[in-house]
Amino acid sequence: MECPHIPKISYGQFGKRLREKIAGKRVPLAGSLELTFRCNLRCVHCYLGDARAGIPGKNELSYGEICDLLDQTVDEGCLWLLLTGGEPLLRPDFLEIYTYAKKRGFLVTLFTNGTLITPQIADYLQEWRPFKVEISLYGRTKETYERVTGVPGSYERCLRGIELLLERGLPLRLKTVAITLNKHEIWAIKEYAEGLGANFYFDAMINAGLDGGGDPTKFRLAPEEVVQLDLGDAQRADELRDFCKRALRSPSKPEYSYLCGAGVHSFHIDTYGLLSVCIISRHRSHDLRRGSFHEGWQEFIPQVRYQRASDGSQCNQCELISLCGQCPGWAQLEHGDQEARVEFLCQVAHLRAETLGPPMWERSRTEASEATV
């Protein structure tokens, strides 16, 4: 008989082991659940657009419906759960939903803007500790932050929320988008986060809005600015160099339109109960108010995830595809066509390859262009 001891390992080690063990199998280990589209902020870059005021005639999932969905995802093997929005703390039943998820044994991550965190909520989170909380901090000055969020007083409330979590030793990660309005404060935000002992990351890849509106894209940085920011952070630059080296050494020839783990080990559910492969790519969805999660995961999601690129698809032929953020979800949002090239992503990928890619890539690129001439 094998001795029934209890090895203790970190979540990271366990996640790696689990993924290795199920390699090749589709298991919905990680899910994101949008508790609401509503938000108390009006960030300029937000992909939810007008939906943040709520969509007339549509009802958000109720507490009972959410519990039922969580039960169903547990049965299919979901362990990592992201609660997001909109602003999830706007729901009066947020703590009930959160507690239910904890009691079902999910490792719960919470995405919040931090402005609605009260001492009572922070105390509760300390008692029922989340796996992680991520707060977006859009500026290091009131002026910049509130130019992004559009709400006076939100900067102080966000800082207070951060303070309340840190006072209680909660696992906090600060993040920001890097856009035209706050690009001059990215390093100040990073310095602030690190001074607090919190993890930090930024994202400059702003996708188009879900309602087909192009407004968020107006705030994108130029590709040159994106790469300048990459270079400004030594660790990020090193990671990108490693990634470029691996990706360019053996360019992949993808079989399917989707190249990531979406629909293989992860899924997304929106506030109206629509299941999709991920939070960006939701133009095709399965209504969980009409069908089960099991059906959606086993029958619907593979149809989306394993669609093949058409012969005319330019991007799937590109040797930089694994470096590029191009995917059916982004393309659909930007152009209403899931194979159309997103120029912004294309330019950033090429610039990263040129700037951060290995010399061998530079040489082969030169040879190729000479041969063409």
């Binding site: 001795c3 029934p4 203790k8 970190s10 979540y11 904890k102």
Partner: protein, 96 residues
């Protein structure tokens, strides 16, 4: 573990999950175990964990273990005792 008639129950501060063939104990509340880590159980541990229901005595759990894994009672007793102690020490079970 003293008497073989002792009864334990699972504490609500730790939840077990079975994902594929991995059985894990997830701490969910403050004041139990180590919230930065996860506990993994092998098949023997998982069977014992599932039998700790606030009703079965340790003697009954021992008998089930011996039957399921075809092992000597002496060996099973030693392992069960250690396992119960470990579960108690991380706050996963409490004595009824």
């Amino acid at each position: 573990m003293g008497s073989s008639q002792e009864i334990y129950r699972q504490d609500g501060s730790i939840v077990s999950r079975r994902i594929e063939d991995e059985v894990i104990l997830v701490p969910i509340r403050q004041n139990v175990a180590d919230l930065e880590s996860i506990y993994t159980l092998n098949e023997v541990g998982a069977l014992i964990w599932e039998e700790i229901d606030g009703q079965r005595t340790t003697a009954e759990i021992l008998a089930l273990t011996v039957e399921e894994f075809e092992v000597s009672e002496e060996e099973a007793q030693k392992d069960l005792t250690e396992f119960i102690e470990q579960l108690s020490s991380i706050g996963a079970i409490t004595r009824v």
